[in-house]
Protein backbone atom coordinates (compact mmCIF):
# COMPACT_ATOMS: atom_id res chain seq x y z
CA UNK A 1 0.00 0.00 0.00
CA UNK A 2 0.99 3.57 -0.65
CA UNK A 3 1.96 6.01 2.06
CA UNK A 4 -0.35 9.02 2.07
CA UNK A 5 0.75 10.94 5.14
CA UNK A 6 4.12 10.82 6.76
CA UNK A 7 4.97 12.54 10.03
CA UNK A 8 8.72 12.96 10.21
CA UNK A 9 10.03 13.34 13.78
CA UNK A 10 7.47 15.98 14.69
CA UNK A 11 7.34 17.53 18.11
CA UNK A 12 4.96 20.09 19.62
CA UNK A 13 5.67 22.36 22.53
CA UNK A 14 3.35 25.01 23.95
CA UNK A 15 5.57 27.58 25.66
CA UNK A 16 7.95 25.22 27.44
CA UNK A 17 5.75 22.18 27.97
CA UNK A 18 6.17 19.34 25.52
CA UNK A 19 2.69 18.21 24.48
CA UNK A 20 3.77 15.82 21.75
CA UNK A 21 7.33 14.50 22.06
CA UNK A 22 9.22 13.82 18.85
CA UNK A 23 7.99 10.81 16.88
CA UNK A 24 7.44 9.58 13.32
CA UNK A 25 4.43 7.87 11.79
CA UNK A 26 3.29 6.79 8.33
CA UNK A 27 -0.34 6.50 7.36
CA UNK A 28 -1.37 4.39 4.42
CA UNK A 29 -3.76 5.30 1.66
CA UNK A 30 -7.33 4.16 2.35
CA UNK A 31 -6.74 3.00 5.89
CA UNK A 32 -8.78 3.74 8.98
CA UNK A 33 -6.25 4.83 11.57
CA UNK A 34 -7.39 5.67 15.08
CA UNK A 35 -5.50 7.78 17.58
CA UNK A 36 -6.59 6.40 20.91
CA UNK A 37 -5.64 7.77 24.30
CA UNK A 38 -7.00 9.34 27.48
CA UNK A 39 -8.15 12.98 27.55
CA UNK A 40 -5.36 15.51 27.41
CA UNK A 41 -2.80 13.16 25.87
CA UNK A 42 -2.37 15.34 22.78
CA UNK A 43 -4.68 13.70 20.23
CA UNK A 44 -6.38 16.92 19.17
CA UNK A 45 -3.04 18.70 18.98
CA UNK A 46 -1.69 16.01 16.66
CA UNK A 47 -4.76 16.20 14.44
CA UNK A 48 -4.58 19.99 14.32
CA UNK A 49 -0.98 19.80 13.22
CA UNK A 50 -1.98 17.54 10.33
CA UNK A 51 -4.86 19.88 9.40
CA UNK A 52 -2.52 22.87 9.58
CA UNK A 53 -4.02 24.78 12.52
CA UNK A 54 -0.90 24.22 14.57
CA UNK A 55 2.67 24.17 13.37
CA UNK A 56 4.92 21.40 14.68
CA UNK A 57 7.72 22.94 16.76
CA UNK A 58 10.17 20.71 14.93
CA UNK A 59 9.82 18.10 12.19
CA UNK A 60 7.84 17.97 8.99
CA UNK A 61 4.52 16.54 7.80
CA UNK A 62 4.23 15.14 4.26
CA UNK A 63 1.08 14.59 2.20
CA UNK A 64 1.78 12.46 -0.88
CA UNK A 65 5.51 13.06 -0.31
CA UNK A 66 5.08 16.84 -0.41
CA UNK A 67 6.07 18.80 2.71
CA UNK A 68 3.16 20.73 4.23
CA UNK A 69 4.85 23.24 6.52
CA UNK A 70 4.24 26.12 4.11
CA UNK A 71 0.81 24.98 2.98
CA UNK A 72 -2.00 26.82 4.82
CA UNK A 73 -5.03 24.80 6.04
CA UNK A 74 -7.23 26.03 3.19
CA UNK A 75 -4.89 24.55 0.61
CA UNK A 76 -4.45 21.14 2.21
CA UNK A 77 -6.39 18.42 0.46
CA UNK A 78 -8.00 17.12 3.63
CA UNK A 79 -11.04 17.94 5.70
CA UNK A 80 -11.76 17.83 9.38
CA UNK A 81 -14.88 16.92 11.32
CA UNK A 82 -14.71 19.01 14.46
CA UNK A 83 -15.38 17.79 17.97
CA UNK A 84 -18.35 20.18 18.37
CA UNK A 85 -19.19 19.95 14.63
CA UNK A 86 -18.58 23.70 14.07
CA UNK A 87 -21.54 24.04 11.71
CA UNK A 88 -22.15 27.58 10.46
CA UNK A 89 -25.19 28.78 12.42
CA UNK A 90 -26.15 31.41 9.87
CA UNK A 91 -26.43 28.94 7.00
CA UNK A 92 -28.90 26.17 6.18
CA UNK A 93 -27.89 22.52 6.03
CA UNK A 94 -27.55 22.87 2.28
CA UNK A 95 -25.41 26.00 2.46
CA UNK A 96 -23.20 24.39 5.07
CA UNK A 97 -22.62 21.35 2.89
CA UNK A 98 -21.97 23.41 -0.24
CA UNK A 99 -19.52 25.77 1.46
CA UNK A 100 -16.40 23.85 0.46
CA UNK A 101 -17.38 23.52 -3.20
CA UNK A 102 -18.28 27.23 -3.34
CA UNK A 103 -14.87 28.16 -1.99
CA UNK A 104 -13.22 25.94 -4.56
CA UNK A 105 -15.29 27.63 -7.31
CA UNK A 106 -16.72 24.37 -8.56
CA UNK A 107 -19.36 25.09 -11.23
CA UNK A 108 -22.99 25.29 -10.15
CA UNK A 109 -24.21 22.20 -11.98
CA UNK A 110 -21.50 20.05 -10.42
CA UNK A 111 -22.27 21.56 -6.99
CA UNK A 112 -25.94 20.59 -7.27
CA UNK A 113 -25.14 17.10 -8.49
CA UNK A 114 -22.77 16.39 -5.62
CA UNK A 115 -25.10 17.99 -3.11
CA UNK A 116 -27.94 15.65 -4.08
CA UNK A 117 -25.63 12.64 -3.88
CA UNK A 118 -24.29 13.52 -0.47
CA UNK A 119 -27.70 14.47 0.94
CA UNK A 120 -28.98 11.07 -0.14
CA UNK A 121 -25.98 9.37 1.28
CA UNK A 122 -26.34 10.85 4.77
CA UNK A 123 -30.14 10.89 4.60
CA UNK A 124 -30.56 14.61 5.07
CA UNK A 125 -32.58 15.37 1.94
CA UNK A 126 -35.68 16.30 3.93
CA UNK A 127 -33.80 18.54 6.32
CA UNK A 128 -31.84 20.49 3.71
CA UNK A 129 -33.53 23.85 4.38
CA UNK A 130 -33.19 23.71 8.14
CA UNK A 131 -30.56 25.55 10.14
CA UNK A 132 -28.18 23.63 12.42
CA UNK A 133 -30.09 24.82 15.49
CA UNK A 134 -33.18 22.98 14.30
CA UNK A 135 -31.37 19.64 14.16
CA UNK A 136 -30.72 16.96 16.77
CA UNK A 137 -27.15 16.08 17.76
CA UNK A 138 -27.06 13.05 15.49
CA UNK A 139 -28.37 15.04 12.53
CA UNK A 140 -25.83 17.81 13.12
CA UNK A 141 -23.18 15.13 13.13
CA UNK A 142 -24.34 13.93 9.70
CA UNK A 143 -24.20 17.48 8.35
CA UNK A 144 -20.63 17.79 9.62
CA UNK A 145 -19.67 14.57 7.86
CA UNK A 146 -21.52 15.54 4.67
CA UNK A 147 -19.86 18.96 4.63
CA UNK A 148 -16.47 17.27 4.72
CA UNK A 149 -16.96 14.33 2.32
CA UNK A 150 -18.61 16.38 -0.44
CA UNK A 151 -15.12 17.75 -1.14
CA UNK A 152 -13.70 14.27 -1.86
CA UNK A 153 -10.70 14.95 0.37
CA UNK A 154 -7.61 12.74 0.26
CA UNK A 155 -7.79 12.41 4.03
CA UNK A 156 -10.61 12.92 6.52
CA UNK A 157 -9.66 13.95 10.04
CA UNK A 158 -12.25 13.25 12.73
CA UNK A 159 -11.89 14.57 16.26
CA UNK A 160 -14.09 12.52 18.59
CA UNK A 161 -16.99 12.92 16.16
CA UNK A 162 -19.34 10.79 18.24
CA UNK A 163 -18.24 12.07 21.63
CA UNK A 164 -21.32 14.25 22.21
CA UNK A 165 -23.89 11.60 21.33
CA UNK A 166 -25.62 9.09 23.55
CA UNK A 167 -24.58 5.47 23.72
CA UNK A 168 -27.12 3.87 21.36
CA UNK A 169 -26.67 6.45 18.63
CA UNK A 170 -22.91 6.20 18.98
CA UNK A 171 -23.01 2.45 18.46
CA UNK A 172 -25.03 2.68 15.25
CA UNK A 173 -23.04 5.62 13.86
CA UNK A 174 -19.79 3.73 14.47
CA UNK A 175 -20.88 1.12 11.97
CA UNK A 176 -22.17 3.72 9.53
CA UNK A 177 -18.90 5.61 9.63
CA UNK A 178 -16.91 2.45 9.13
CA UNK A 179 -19.03 1.55 6.09
CA UNK A 180 -18.78 5.04 4.72
CA UNK A 181 -15.02 4.87 4.94
CA UNK A 182 -14.91 1.52 3.17
CA UNK A 183 -17.24 2.65 0.39
CA UNK A 184 -15.57 5.97 -0.27
CA UNK A 185 -12.04 4.66 0.15
CA UNK A 186 -11.00 7.89 1.89
CA UNK A 187 -8.18 7.66 4.43
CA UNK A 188 -9.60 8.29 7.90
CA UNK A 189 -7.60 9.59 10.84
CA UNK A 190 -9.96 9.18 13.72
CA UNK A 191 -9.47 10.47 17.25
CA UNK A 192 -11.20 8.95 20.24
CA UNK A 193 -10.67 8.19 23.90
CA UNK A 194 -13.13 5.31 23.72
CA UNK A 195 -11.26 2.04 23.30
CA UNK A 196 -14.33 0.04 22.34
CA UNK A 197 -15.01 2.49 19.54
CA UNK A 198 -11.41 2.24 18.37
CA UNK A 199 -11.55 -1.57 18.41
CA UNK A 200 -14.81 -1.65 16.47
CA UNK A 201 -13.82 0.66 13.65
CA UNK A 202 -10.09 0.77 13.00
CA UNK A 203 -7.69 -0.96 10.64
CA UNK A 204 -4.88 0.22 12.88
CA UNK A 205 -4.87 1.84 16.29
CA UNK A 206 -2.16 4.18 17.57
CA UNK A 207 -2.34 4.13 21.35
CA UNK A 208 -1.19 7.46 22.79
CA UNK A 209 -0.06 8.22 26.29
CA UNK A 210 1.15 11.66 27.33
CA UNK A 211 1.73 12.63 23.70
CA UNK A 212 3.78 9.51 22.95
CA UNK A 213 2.61 6.77 20.66
CA UNK A 214 3.08 3.58 22.65
CA UNK A 215 2.05 1.09 20.00
CA UNK A 216 0.59 1.06 16.51
CA UNK A 217 -1.03 -2.15 15.36
CA UNK A 218 -4.27 -3.82 14.36
CA UNK A 219 -6.98 -4.01 17.05
CA UNK A 220 -6.38 -7.74 17.53
CA UNK A 221 -2.65 -7.31 17.92
CA UNK A 222 -3.10 -4.40 20.33
CA UNK A 223 -5.42 -6.56 22.40
CA UNK A 224 -3.49 -9.81 22.26
CA UNK A 225 0.09 -8.58 22.27
CA UNK A 226 0.31 -5.23 24.02
CA UNK A 227 3.87 -3.98 24.08
CA UNK A 228 3.73 -1.70 27.09
CA UNK A 229 2.08 -1.72 30.48
CA UNK A 230 0.00 1.30 29.48
CA UNK A 231 -1.40 -0.41 26.39
CA UNK A 232 -2.06 -3.61 28.34
CA UNK A 233 -4.14 -1.79 30.95
CA UNK A 234 -5.75 0.94 28.81
CA UNK A 235 -7.18 -1.46 26.22
CA UNK A 236 -9.65 -3.84 27.75
CA UNK A 237 -9.19 -5.28 31.22
CA UNK A 238 -6.03 -6.97 32.36
CA UNK A 239 -4.37 -8.58 35.36
CA UNK A 240 -0.77 -7.56 35.87
CA UNK A 241 1.41 -9.98 37.86
CA UNK A 242 4.74 -8.54 38.93
CA UNK A 243 7.40 -11.19 39.10
CA UNK A 244 11.15 -10.82 39.47
CA UNK A 245 11.52 -7.61 37.53
CA UNK A 246 8.94 -8.20 34.80
CA UNK A 247 5.23 -7.71 34.38
CA UNK A 248 3.09 -10.55 33.16
CA UNK A 249 -0.31 -9.55 31.81
CA UNK A 250 -3.15 -12.08 31.68
CA UNK A 251 -6.61 -11.16 30.36
CA UNK A 252 -9.54 -11.97 32.70
CA UNK A 253 -11.06 -14.35 30.15
CA UNK A 254 -7.84 -16.38 30.16
CA UNK A 255 -7.85 -16.90 33.91
CA UNK A 256 -9.19 -20.30 34.97
CA UNK A 257 -10.63 -20.94 38.41
CA UNK A 258 -10.22 -24.30 40.18
CA UNK A 259 -11.41 -25.71 43.49
CA UNK A 260 -8.36 -25.84 45.80
CA UNK A 261 -8.38 -29.64 45.92
CA UNK A 262 -8.46 -30.52 42.21
CA UNK A 263 -6.21 -30.00 39.15
CA UNK A 264 -3.36 -29.12 41.49
CA UNK A 265 -0.84 -29.11 38.65
CA UNK A 266 -2.63 -26.15 37.00
CA UNK A 267 -2.69 -23.92 40.10
CA UNK A 268 -0.59 -20.78 39.96
CA UNK A 269 -1.99 -18.78 42.87
CA UNK A 270 -4.42 -19.21 45.74
CA UNK A 271 -7.02 -16.76 46.94
CA UNK A 272 -10.53 -16.01 48.15
CA UNK A 273 -13.51 -14.76 46.14
CA UNK A 274 -13.93 -11.13 47.16
CA UNK A 275 -16.79 -10.17 44.87
CA UNK A 276 -18.79 -11.41 41.91
CA UNK A 277 -20.67 -9.12 39.55
CA UNK A 278 -23.38 -10.48 37.30
CA UNK A 279 -23.37 -8.86 33.83
CA UNK A 280 -25.84 -11.01 31.93
CA UNK A 281 -23.67 -13.00 29.55
CA UNK A 282 -20.85 -13.33 32.05
CA UNK A 283 -19.87 -12.87 35.65
CA UNK A 284 -16.85 -10.85 36.71
CA UNK A 285 -15.25 -12.61 39.64
CA UNK A 286 -12.73 -10.80 41.83
CA UNK A 287 -10.20 -12.92 43.68
CA UNK A 288 -8.15 -11.62 46.59
CA UNK A 289 -4.76 -13.34 46.43
CA UNK A 290 -3.28 -14.97 49.50
CA UNK A 291 -0.28 -13.20 51.00
CA UNK A 292 -0.27 -10.56 48.25
CA UNK A 293 -1.88 -7.15 48.08
CA UNK A 294 -3.59 -7.83 44.80
CA UNK A 295 -7.03 -8.56 43.37
CA UNK A 296 -7.35 -10.64 40.22
CA UNK A 297 -10.31 -10.42 37.90
CA UNK A 298 -11.62 -13.45 36.03
CA UNK A 299 -14.54 -13.85 33.64
CA UNK A 300 -16.89 -16.70 34.26
CA UNK A 301 -19.32 -17.61 31.51
CA UNK A 302 -22.76 -19.07 32.01
CA UNK A 303 -22.70 -22.84 31.83
CA UNK A 304 -19.13 -23.53 32.88
CA UNK A 305 -20.54 -25.37 35.84
CA UNK A 306 -18.89 -23.67 38.79
CA UNK A 307 -20.91 -21.18 40.74
CA UNK A 308 -18.51 -19.29 42.97
CA UNK A 309 -19.71 -17.57 46.13
CA UNK A 310 -18.10 -14.69 47.95
CA UNK A 311 -15.73 -16.10 50.57
CA UNK A 312 -14.94 -19.35 48.69
CA UNK A 313 -11.36 -20.55 48.59
CA UNK A 314 -10.15 -20.75 45.03
CA UNK A 315 -7.06 -21.53 42.96
CA UNK A 316 -6.29 -19.70 39.73
CA UNK A 317 -4.26 -20.71 36.73
CA UNK A 318 -3.64 -19.81 33.09
CA UNK A 319 -1.86 -21.19 30.06
CA UNK A 320 1.70 -19.99 29.60
CA UNK A 321 0.81 -18.88 26.04
CA UNK A 322 -1.87 -16.52 27.37
CA UNK A 323 0.69 -14.61 29.38
CA UNK A 324 2.14 -11.41 27.85
CA UNK A 325 5.49 -10.32 29.26
CA UNK A 326 5.87 -6.54 29.43
CA UNK A 327 8.90 -4.39 30.19
CA UNK A 328 8.59 -2.54 33.48
Amino acid sequence: MKKIIHLDSIEKRFADTVVVPSFSLSIEEGEFLTLLGPSGCGKTTLLRMIAGFEQPTTGEIFLDEKPLSHVPPYQRDMNMVFQQYALFPHMTVEQNILFGLKMKKVNAAEQQKRLEEVLQYVQLTELRKRTPKQLSGGQQQRVAIARAIINNPRVLLLDEPLGALDYQLRKSLQLELKNLQKNLGITFIYVTHDQEEAMAMSDRIAVMNKGRIEQIASPAEIYNSPQTLFVATFIGENNIFQENGTNAAVRPEKIKLYPVDSDKDKHKKLGTIADAVFLGNLRKVFIRLEGQDMTVMAHQYAGDGLDWQVGDQVAIGWAQTDEVILPC
Partner: protein, 265 residues
Amino acid sequence: MKTLRGNALSGYSWLMLVFLYLPILILVLYSFNDSRINATWTGFTWKWYVSLFENRQVMQALMNSLTIGVISSVIATVLGTAAALAVKHYSLRWSNIFNGLMYLPIVIPEIMMGLAMLVLFSQMQMELGKVTLILAHVTFSMPFVMVIISGRLADMGKDLEEASQDLGATPWETLRYVTLPLIMPGIIAGFLMAFTLSLDDFIISFFVAGPNSTTLPLYIYGLVKRGVSPEVNALSTLLIVSTVLLVVVAEIFRRKDSKNNQSIL
Protein backbone atom coordinates in the same frame (compact mmCIF):
# COMPACT_ATOMS: atom_id res chain seq x y z
CA MET B 1 -39.21 39.82 59.77
CA LYS B 2 -38.40 38.69 56.30
CA THR B 3 -41.19 40.69 54.66
CA LEU B 4 -40.29 43.74 56.71
CA ARG B 5 -36.77 43.58 55.39
CA GLY B 6 -38.11 42.95 51.91
CA ASN B 7 -40.32 46.00 52.15
CA ALA B 8 -37.53 48.16 53.45
CA LEU B 9 -35.30 46.98 50.66
CA SER B 10 -37.87 47.61 47.96
CA GLY B 11 -38.58 51.02 49.50
CA TYR B 12 -34.89 51.78 49.30
CA SER B 13 -34.76 50.67 45.68
CA TRP B 14 -37.64 52.96 44.83
CA LEU B 15 -35.90 55.82 46.58
CA MET B 16 -32.80 55.17 44.50
CA LEU B 17 -34.84 55.25 41.30
CA VAL B 18 -36.52 58.49 42.30
CA PHE B 19 -33.15 59.98 43.15
CA LEU B 20 -31.80 58.96 39.75
CA TYR B 21 -34.70 59.93 37.57
CA LEU B 22 -36.46 62.80 39.37
CA PRO B 23 -34.33 65.54 37.77
CA ILE B 24 -34.93 64.11 34.31
CA LEU B 25 -38.62 63.65 35.00
CA ILE B 26 -38.98 67.28 36.07
CA LEU B 27 -37.12 68.44 33.01
CA VAL B 28 -39.39 66.42 30.73
CA LEU B 29 -42.49 67.63 32.60
CA TYR B 30 -41.60 71.29 32.29
CA SER B 31 -40.93 70.94 28.58
CA PHE B 32 -44.71 70.58 28.27
CA ASN B 33 -45.48 73.51 30.61
CA ASP B 34 -47.44 76.37 29.11
CA SER B 35 -45.75 78.95 31.34
CA ARG B 36 -42.39 80.43 30.43
CA ILE B 37 -41.39 80.43 34.10
CA ASN B 38 -40.27 77.01 35.17
CA ALA B 39 -41.53 77.03 38.72
CA THR B 40 -45.27 77.06 38.11
CA TRP B 41 -47.40 74.64 36.11
CA THR B 42 -50.06 76.35 34.07
CA GLY B 43 -51.10 73.76 31.53
CA PHE B 44 -50.04 71.34 28.81
CA THR B 45 -48.56 72.52 25.51
CA TRP B 46 -46.52 71.35 22.49
CA LYS B 47 -45.53 74.89 21.58
CA TRP B 48 -41.92 74.71 22.78
CA TYR B 49 -41.33 71.74 20.54
CA VAL B 50 -42.90 73.55 17.61
CA SER B 51 -40.76 76.59 18.18
CA LEU B 52 -37.65 74.40 18.29
CA PHE B 53 -38.28 73.18 14.78
CA GLU B 54 -38.76 76.74 13.58
CA ASN B 55 -35.49 77.84 15.14
CA ARG B 56 -32.74 77.88 12.48
CA GLN B 57 -29.91 77.73 15.00
CA VAL B 58 -31.39 74.64 16.62
CA MET B 59 -31.80 72.98 13.25
CA GLN B 60 -28.21 73.89 12.33
CA ALA B 61 -26.94 72.36 15.60
CA LEU B 62 -29.03 69.26 14.98
CA MET B 63 -27.59 68.92 11.47
CA ASN B 64 -24.06 69.31 12.86
CA SER B 65 -24.71 66.67 15.51
CA LEU B 66 -26.14 64.21 13.01
CA THR B 67 -23.36 64.71 10.44
CA ILE B 68 -20.61 64.39 13.02
CA GLY B 69 -22.42 61.48 14.67
CA VAL B 70 -22.87 59.47 11.49
CA ILE B 71 -19.39 60.07 10.08
CA SER B 72 -17.55 59.53 13.34
CA SER B 73 -19.47 56.39 14.26
CA VAL B 74 -18.98 54.85 10.83
CA ILE B 75 -15.23 55.45 11.13
CA ALA B 76 -15.17 54.26 14.76
CA THR B 77 -17.09 51.10 13.82
CA VAL B 78 -14.73 50.23 10.98
CA LEU B 79 -11.60 50.90 13.03
CA GLY B 80 -13.00 49.28 16.18
CA THR B 81 -14.02 46.14 14.28
CA ALA B 82 -10.62 45.94 12.63
CA ALA B 83 -8.87 46.37 15.98
CA ALA B 84 -11.02 43.68 17.63
CA LEU B 85 -10.29 41.27 14.79
CA ALA B 86 -6.59 42.05 14.91
CA VAL B 87 -6.36 41.48 18.66
CA LYS B 88 -8.16 38.15 18.33
CA HIS B 89 -6.14 36.83 15.44
CA TYR B 90 -2.68 37.95 16.36
CA SER B 91 -2.60 36.69 19.91
CA LEU B 92 0.97 37.83 20.26
CA ARG B 93 2.70 38.48 23.51
CA TRP B 94 1.92 42.19 23.33
CA SER B 95 -1.73 41.81 22.39
CA ASN B 96 -2.67 42.14 26.07
CA ILE B 97 -0.80 45.39 26.28
CA PHE B 98 -2.42 46.55 23.05
CA ASN B 99 -5.80 45.60 24.45
CA GLY B 100 -5.19 47.54 27.66
CA LEU B 101 -4.07 50.60 25.74
CA MET B 102 -7.17 50.43 23.55
CA TYR B 103 -9.47 50.41 26.56
CA LEU B 104 -7.66 53.10 28.54
CA PRO B 105 -9.55 56.01 26.91
CA ILE B 106 -12.73 54.66 28.50
CA VAL B 107 -11.44 55.43 31.99
CA ILE B 108 -9.34 58.54 31.31
CA PRO B 109 -11.26 61.62 32.55
CA GLU B 110 -13.01 63.20 29.60
CA ILE B 111 -11.71 66.61 30.47
CA MET B 112 -8.15 65.32 30.06
CA MET B 113 -8.98 63.76 26.73
CA GLY B 114 -10.54 67.01 25.57
CA LEU B 115 -7.61 69.06 26.71
CA ALA B 116 -5.08 66.66 25.23
CA MET B 117 -6.82 66.71 21.89
CA LEU B 118 -7.06 70.49 21.90
CA VAL B 119 -3.32 70.68 22.53
CA LEU B 120 -2.63 68.17 19.78
CA PHE B 121 -4.83 69.90 17.22
CA SER B 122 -3.33 73.30 17.90
CA GLN B 123 0.19 71.83 17.74
CA MET B 124 -0.69 70.50 14.33
CA GLN B 125 -2.24 73.87 13.51
CA MET B 126 -5.53 72.29 12.60
CA GLU B 127 -8.49 74.64 12.45
CA LEU B 128 -11.10 73.65 15.06
CA GLY B 129 -14.35 72.61 13.45
CA LYS B 130 -16.21 69.57 12.16
CA VAL B 131 -13.05 67.68 11.25
CA THR B 132 -11.51 68.00 14.70
CA LEU B 133 -14.85 67.07 16.27
CA ILE B 134 -15.09 63.96 14.12
CA LEU B 135 -11.52 62.94 14.96
CA ALA B 136 -12.17 63.42 18.66
CA HIS B 137 -15.44 61.51 18.58
CA VAL B 138 -13.80 58.61 16.73
CA THR B 139 -11.11 58.53 19.41
CA PHE B 140 -13.43 58.19 22.36
CA SER B 141 -16.06 55.94 20.79
CA MET B 142 -13.78 53.42 19.08
CA PRO B 143 -12.84 51.62 22.35
CA PHE B 144 -16.52 51.04 23.10
CA VAL B 145 -17.06 49.53 19.66
CA MET B 146 -14.04 47.34 20.26
CA VAL B 147 -15.31 46.11 23.63
CA ILE B 148 -18.66 45.11 22.14
CA ILE B 149 -17.17 43.35 19.12
CA SER B 150 -14.45 41.61 21.10
CA GLY B 151 -17.16 40.14 23.30
CA ARG B 152 -18.97 38.89 20.26
CA LEU B 153 -15.80 37.37 18.82
CA ALA B 154 -14.99 35.66 22.09
CA ASP B 155 -18.49 34.08 22.13
CA MET B 156 -17.95 32.83 18.61
CA GLY B 157 -14.74 30.97 19.46
CA LYS B 158 -12.27 29.88 16.83
CA ASP B 159 -13.90 26.65 15.63
CA LEU B 160 -16.13 28.23 12.99
CA GLU B 161 -13.32 30.20 11.42
CA GLU B 162 -11.13 27.13 11.41
CA ALA B 163 -13.90 25.05 9.86
CA SER B 164 -14.19 27.66 7.14
CA GLN B 165 -10.48 27.55 6.39
CA ASP B 166 -10.57 23.78 6.53
CA LEU B 167 -13.20 23.84 3.78
CA GLY B 168 -10.93 25.85 1.54
CA ALA B 169 -11.83 29.46 2.37
CA THR B 170 -8.91 31.89 2.38
CA PRO B 171 -8.65 34.22 5.39
CA TRP B 172 -10.48 36.94 3.41
CA GLU B 173 -13.26 34.60 2.37
CA THR B 174 -13.54 33.41 5.96
CA LEU B 175 -13.89 37.00 7.12
CA ARG B 176 -16.51 37.75 4.50
CA TYR B 177 -18.66 34.60 4.66
CA VAL B 178 -18.27 33.51 8.27
CA THR B 179 -16.83 36.05 10.69
CA LEU B 180 -18.56 39.24 9.56
CA PRO B 181 -22.05 37.73 9.23
CA LEU B 182 -21.71 36.22 12.68
CA ILE B 183 -20.53 39.40 14.41
CA MET B 184 -22.90 41.66 12.47
CA PRO B 185 -25.24 42.17 15.45
CA GLY B 186 -22.19 43.29 17.43
CA ILE B 187 -21.14 45.65 14.67
CA ILE B 188 -24.60 47.20 14.55
CA ALA B 189 -24.67 47.49 18.34
CA GLY B 190 -21.22 49.09 18.26
CA PHE B 191 -22.29 51.56 15.62
CA LEU B 192 -25.40 52.59 17.55
CA MET B 193 -23.35 52.94 20.71
CA ALA B 194 -20.77 55.12 18.96
CA PHE B 195 -23.52 57.24 17.46
CA THR B 196 -25.16 57.71 20.85
CA LEU B 197 -21.88 58.67 22.49
CA SER B 198 -21.20 61.18 19.75
CA LEU B 199 -24.69 62.67 19.97
CA ASP B 200 -24.40 63.07 23.74
CA ASP B 201 -20.86 64.26 24.13
CA PHE B 202 -20.33 67.63 25.65
CA ILE B 203 -17.00 67.86 27.45
CA ILE B 204 -14.63 66.75 24.71
CA SER B 205 -16.66 68.54 22.04
CA PHE B 206 -16.45 71.69 24.15
CA PHE B 207 -12.66 71.70 23.73
CA VAL B 208 -12.38 70.85 20.06
CA ALA B 209 -15.42 72.52 18.45
CA GLY B 210 -15.05 75.61 16.28
CA PRO B 211 -17.40 78.55 15.72
CA ASN B 212 -19.38 76.89 12.93
CA SER B 213 -19.60 73.41 14.37
CA THR B 214 -21.87 73.81 17.37
CA THR B 215 -23.48 70.47 18.27
CA LEU B 216 -26.74 70.07 20.17
CA PRO B 217 -25.20 69.63 23.64
CA LEU B 218 -22.98 72.66 23.02
CA TYR B 219 -25.97 74.66 21.87
CA ILE B 220 -27.95 73.68 24.96
CA TYR B 221 -25.04 74.75 27.14
CA GLY B 222 -25.01 78.10 25.31
CA LEU B 223 -28.72 78.58 25.97
CA VAL B 224 -28.46 77.64 29.63
CA LYS B 225 -25.95 80.38 30.21
CA ARG B 226 -28.82 82.72 29.44
CA GLY B 227 -31.19 80.87 31.77
CA VAL B 228 -33.15 77.64 31.59
CA SER B 229 -35.97 78.17 29.13
CA PRO B 230 -38.75 75.73 28.22
CA GLU B 231 -37.06 75.36 24.78
CA VAL B 232 -33.97 74.02 26.52
CA ASN B 233 -36.17 71.53 28.34
CA ALA B 234 -37.83 70.46 25.13
CA LEU B 235 -34.53 70.08 23.30
CA SER B 236 -33.02 68.10 26.19
CA THR B 237 -36.08 65.88 26.31
CA LEU B 238 -35.69 65.05 22.64
CA LEU B 239 -32.01 64.28 23.14
CA ILE B 240 -32.74 62.04 26.12
CA VAL B 241 -35.50 60.16 24.32
CA SER B 242 -33.36 59.50 21.25
CA THR B 243 -30.41 58.43 23.40
CA VAL B 244 -32.50 55.98 25.38
CA LEU B 245 -34.00 54.54 22.22
CA LEU B 246 -30.60 54.13 20.59
CA VAL B 247 -29.11 52.45 23.65
CA VAL B 248 -32.03 50.06 23.94
CA VAL B 249 -31.77 49.08 20.28
CA ALA B 250 -27.98 48.70 20.60
CA GLU B 251 -28.46 46.47 23.62
CA ILE B 252 -30.98 44.30 21.77
CA PHE B 253 -28.45 43.77 19.00
CA ARG B 254 -25.61 43.19 21.41
CA ARG B 255 -27.55 40.46 23.20
CA LYS B 256 -28.78 38.77 20.07
CA ASP B 257 -27.93 35.09 20.42
CA SER B 258 -24.86 34.48 18.33
CA LYS B 259 -26.28 31.11 17.32
CA ASN B 260 -29.57 32.44 16.05
CA ASN B 261 -28.99 35.56 14.04
CA GLN B 262 -30.59 34.75 10.73
CA SER B 263 -33.36 37.23 11.18
CA ILE B 264 -31.23 40.31 10.79
CA LEU B 265 -29.13 39.11 7.89
